[in-house]
Symmetry: C2
Subunit: 266 residues, 2 copies
């Protein structure tokens, strides 16, 4: 969680802080009430396969926006004056699937053939769950959500394939049922959980050993509840090794002008 100032800033004002370098680091809790997104930027020649991968795997890869044309760095549908080259707190640059640099803006790396994809993120549904009175363990323990590689295969699309990554939140059964109802309203931020109960059934052997993020405590009578996770496309990128690729750094998301409530389908 950030301080009170960034929590209550408008998305535009928050992005101004990011553009100027005044805000660095994670965006959990900033500009509350607005959609934050995972960012994937690829050369046009890789973009079609990636778009198809998102289309075929909407739970881990819910597309909420993309650039109108290759080379466009403004994304007006996602935010006023939103410039994808400067408005994410931290970027990771990959060449042939290898991380080569972490930077705070990508103006020097921008190319006319780059296509930007923005995917929904769990911050939106966590906000809806908290508003309903549920406890989100990673938030109450001030940790990054625990994430795990599973044995659930994504639907392959061209060069992209791989297994689903899931995030986990422990809950009592009644809260798990309620969270399924609430998250079902938000398909573009991962929607309903993909599994609950025995982790071994989806290939997770030990909940204390996360593949990404931090382990959280599981209290007596709680069951682990698993959601498709936006880290899934990063795993698919790892495997496909595109010649060039830029993503946000985990936790340092793009803050959009879209109210979370706009993503509710009902």
């Amino acid at each position: 969680m950030q301080n009170k100032l960034t929590n209550t800033l408008s998305p535009q004002d928050f992005r101004t802080l990011v553009k100027s370098g005044e805000h660095q680091g994670n965006t959990s809790g900033v500009a509350q009430g607005f959609v934050q997104g995972n960012v994937v930027i690829l050369p046009k020649e890789w973009a079609y396969d990636f778009l198809l991968f998102c289309q075929k795997n909407p739970k881990p890869c819910p597309l909420i926006g993309m650039s109108a044309q290759a080379g466009d760095y403004l994304l007006p549908e996602l935010g006023k004056h939103l410039d994808i080259r400067t408005d994410v707190p931290s970027y990771r640059i990959f060449e042939q699937g290898k991380l080569i640099k972490v930077v705070n803006d990508i103006k020097d790396f921008w190319r006319d053939d780059l296509v930007t994809f923005v995917l929904g993120c769990s911050f939106s549904f966590e906000e809806a769950l908290i508003a309903d009175g549920l406890e989100i363990r990673n938030i109450s323990e001030k940790k990054n959500v625990p994430m795990y590689r599973t044995n659930i295969a994504c639907n392959a699309a061209g060069v992209f394939s791989g297994n689903m990554v899931v995030s986990m939140r422990p809950m009592l059964a009644t809260d798990a049922i309620r969270s399924i109802q609430i998250c079902s309203r938000f398909p573009s931020v991962h929607g309903a959980p993909v599994h609950l109960g025995d982790p071994s059934l989806i290939g997770i052997n030990n909940l204390d050993e996360t593949d990404f993020g931090d382990a959280v405590s599981i209290k007596p009578n709680e069951i682990p509840v698993f959601w498709a996770c936006g880290v899934t496309p990063q795993v698919a990128l790892e495997q496909a090794k595109p010649s060039f690729c830029i993503t946000h750094s985990p936790g340092d998301m793009l803050v959009t002008d879209i109210p979370n409530s706009k993503l509710a389908v009902l």
Copy 2:
């Protein structure tokens, strides 16, 4: 399941068979697509408390209809020519909480002070789950659904109180999640499950020992999913011991003219 003839009959035609005594026994699968109801008939002096009990416990006691005035035996809002004295295959007559008789029509027991309550039943949501491709174990094993007394206290209302009775259907986690989504659309037929996973957390020690209905098999990797059950008011009646009361016999429901789809809230 009944034979093909009764499955495809209209609700009115099916009730004609019941009125004439040509259909006896349970109504599972008859007049497919239409709401069936649990029936509770009480003297007016007990009716207010029972109505309040339903109001305060909508998951086990979802009221879908009641008589307009004491003494009314026609329920036109629930069905054309529907006569509550003759249109239920089998009735149970109680005095001071004791079962005194099981009969096929209640014309001889009718009184001008009787109020009829009709409560939603799980047949409607089972139909929606099957239509979505889920397996309902009690149906595939041709058994009555397993039901259990729990330690979940209902909200008391006047003379009525007691613990919730639940029905149980074993499912894989992904099917359990889907069933929560589907049943959430149908709050007037018990809505979303009230529990899933460890039965002991709601006071059930052994799933093989049912309190009502039959045990069903639970396959590897399945979890038990529990729904609030329309037998709950019968338990409350058992405890309150009203001077006089009539209910349907379990499984022998009132078939109404309301399409199941009309109960969907979204």
